[in-house]
Symmetry: C2
Subunit: 241 residues, 2 copies
């Protein structure tokens, strides 16, 4: 499994992915699930993947191949984030046409989802969630974040503290807490993490960091948040039984 979260703020965007993939608990590997398409000053797009690794790698490969050819329609040439989301959906549908029958023969579910966020010059920053069928939805004022993969463990904290007006630093902190809660409760999500932040209208990556077990800030989050939770828990009055 996997856990990816992306947040769309008034001031920018924050993306966080884990890097664990597994086919059963006895086959666990590390693969990056965050891919960046950047032309500084013109656009910066971030793609996060969850689901079947062969499918998501095939989709990313297609998108990267197209991006490497200036004469092709690609994530570097489309004029809107909506068109970019359509490209991701199209690439996914092409993989489906090639693989779906073989998947069916082997009883494997065709399952891959993507978060695509970023900004293209002339537009606002935008965030999309692309489903296995290649269709997609866009984040709104009311729903400033999307998650893919093992999303449930880390959802309550985001629901409670993040709004569109949260700062990039706050959204980063919240994403890391959300990830930590997920890692603690689910074996299939694990370090290292990929963290990427964008500042609105900068049209380039603000920060892109790989976070391993020895990362000082993440260690502080892991210890500090657990401690804070226990403190908050004990500070609330007990029920009368």
């Amino acid at each position: 499994m996997t856990y990816c979260v992306a947040t769309l703020l008034d001031t920018g965007m924050v993306f966080l992915s884990d890097s664990r993939t597994n086919a059963g608990v006895d086959q666990i590997n590390t693969f990056r699930k965050m891919h960046v398409f950047e032309h500084p000053g013109d656009r910066v797009l971030v793609l996060q993947t969850a689901g079947n690794l062969a499918v998501s790698q095939a989709v990313v490969h297609t998108l990267q191949e197209d991006a490497a050819h200036v004469d092709r329609r690609s994530l570097y040439s489309v004029e809107t984030m909506f068109d970019a989301a359509e490209l991701v959906g199209d690439a996914l549908r092409a993989v489906y046409r090639r693989d779906a029958e073989a998947f069916k023969d082997h009883g494997i579910e065709f399952n891959a989802t993507f978060l695509l966020g970023g900004q293209i010059s002339g537009e606002e920053p935008r965030l999309f969630n692309v489903y296995s069928a290649g269709n997609f939805i866009e984040a709104s004022i009311d729903t400033p974040y999307f998650q893919i993969g093992e999303s449930k463990y880390g959802k309550p904290i985001i629901d409670r503290v993040i709004t569109r007006s949260s700062s990039i630093a706050e959204a980063t902190k919240c994403a890391l807490i959300s990830m930590d809660s997920t890692i603690r409760s689910n074996l299939s999500v694990g370090l290292p993490l990929d963290l990427l932040c964008l500042k609105r209208d900068a049209l380039r990556v603000l920060a892109h960091r790989s976070i391993a077990a020895d990362d000082d800030y993440f260690r502080m989050i892991r210890g500090g948040w657990g401690e804070s939770l226990r403190h908050a828990f004990h500070a609330l009055p007990n029920p009368m039984l």
Copy 2:
């Protein structure tokens, strides 16, 4: 969906269930999912249900029918909690034999899980998780709690604060926080709640309460926990980006 949690402590047990059932979001109803079998001084057993409501009601009906006849082997006559868990599994398998084919014809998944906890005189308090196939596992020192239904949202807080040595009051508070996190993030889990506490060796119900939206303590938890989380969140230092 549903969310039920049961905790086995050194000093007793705590059970909490929601009461929402749904068949799609447009068909939401309230049904109790907690059933008590009590002979004060001899035994007290608590059964919580999740999954297909028709299946779980049929199982509960069978167990109650047997319990109403003194000549039958029932939750009132078995000598151990292990035997009681076996009875639940047997009742579930009988429903399966009757219904599974019709379910298959209609493309419905046969899905029902149970938490069975309590104490029978002569034994320690014990807690079991009975799966759809009628097999079951028992809670241990290392895993003092079980959840069924929509379990993921409310798992991180339990993982962080509850051990076997937690008090009944603490485990009750934690179960309510866990339930609140689930209700906030998932439409298919809802009020009223059924809360039940047992004290070790008392062999009778210590407290059994229905918690609706106007319950003072639960309202304090809902407001207070959210406030505590936000406070803890903002108290942790922001990352340097």
